[in-house]
């Protein structure tokens, strides 16, 4: 086969190659983040196992960081438990194989029988692996308390 003909065939097949390898877009990144918060709220360890990357670094508002195994164990054991978890995504920056999402999450956590409001800024990095978004990092900072009036 001559080179020009080969190149033409290659160019013609590019759309098919693209269709065969769908990439993550902004909507799917937002959906993956929502699914991850929903799974945390419902303590759905199986869903979290798929949504979290094996190399996850999860840094909570207490400044302690957990691996995926440590995070899943805290959900499984009930150490990490929520009454509500409402994320509000403010920015999504998309790259070929990764996405950075920032925003706020309004949470009510349950610990030692008491409920606590934990509202925080979050920073999430998703990586596109195995044809789906997987969360590789979440880091949070507590929202500044509202001034007393």
């Amino acid at each position: 086969m001559s080179h020009p003909r080969f190149l033409l065939l290659l160019l013609a097949s590019l759309p098919l190659i693209a269709l065969a390898s769908p990439r993550g877009d902004e909507d799917s990144a937002r959906a993956a983040l929502q699914a991850r918060f929903d799974a945390a709220l419902h303590a759905d360890v199986a869903a979290l196992d798929k949504l979290l990357a094996d190399d996850l670094e999860y840094c909570g508002v207490s400044a302690t960081c957990s691996t995926k195994a440590q995070y899943l164990e805290s959900v499984r054991s009930g150490t990490r438990k929520f009454r509500s978890l409402v994320p509000k995504v403010e920015r999504v920056t998309l790259f070929a194989d990764s996405a950075v999402l920032t925003g706020k999450v309004y949470a009510v956590s349950i610990g030692d029988g008491t409920e606590r409001n934990v509202d925080a800024y979050f920073l999430v990095v998703l990586a596109w692996r195995d044809d789906r978004w997987q969360m590789t990092n979440q880091s949070s900072t507590l929202l500044q308390p509202k001034p007393k009036t």
Partner: protein, 138 residues
């Protein structure tokens, strides 16, 4: 499959990312607007450990005007990871900060910062920090 060339590229980029992080901490202490202007992404979201928020412009302005004065900043990097054009650094830092309206405070923070590879260099686009349990100022 990852090629040798891409391994080499990642190695070069990782070294550049570590260097950029060190330079940024130094530039903060020196309130060097020119260096920070180059290292910070225009879309920077800088969330301080007390929940204060800064953009690139407000952050640089706060340093230049002395509203926020980093007297010292000693960082220990725990991990550096690169996902394509995104770099993620996680670490801890002992920071002494003062300002026009406050006395010097010693902080021990955990942080994550996100860098983007743009225009042939790393630019920091997001910073989140949290006070460590042993931070002198909670």
């Amino acid at each position: 499959m990852m090629s040798i060339a891409s391994f080499a590229k990642d190695g070069v980029r990782e070294a550049a990312l570590k260097a950029a992080e060190i330079t940024r901490f130094e530039a903060q202490v020196n309130a060097d607007a020119k260096v920070l202007g180059n290292l910070l992404d225009d879309g920077l979201e800088y969330t301080h450990s007390n929940g204060d928020l800064d953009t690139k412009a407000s952050f640089i302005d706060s340093l230049v005007t002395g509203k926020r004065d980093y007297i010292s900043s000693v960082a220990t990097v725990d991990s550096v990871r690169i996902f394509g054009d995104v770099g993620v650094i996680r670490g801890k830092a002992r920071v002494t900060v003062s300002g026009k309206d406050r006395q010097p405070q010693d902080l021990h923070i955990g942080y994550t910062d996100i860098w983007l590879w743009k225009d042939g260099r790393w630019q920091m686009t997001a910073w989140r920090s949290m006070r460590m349990p042993d931070s002198p100022v909670k």
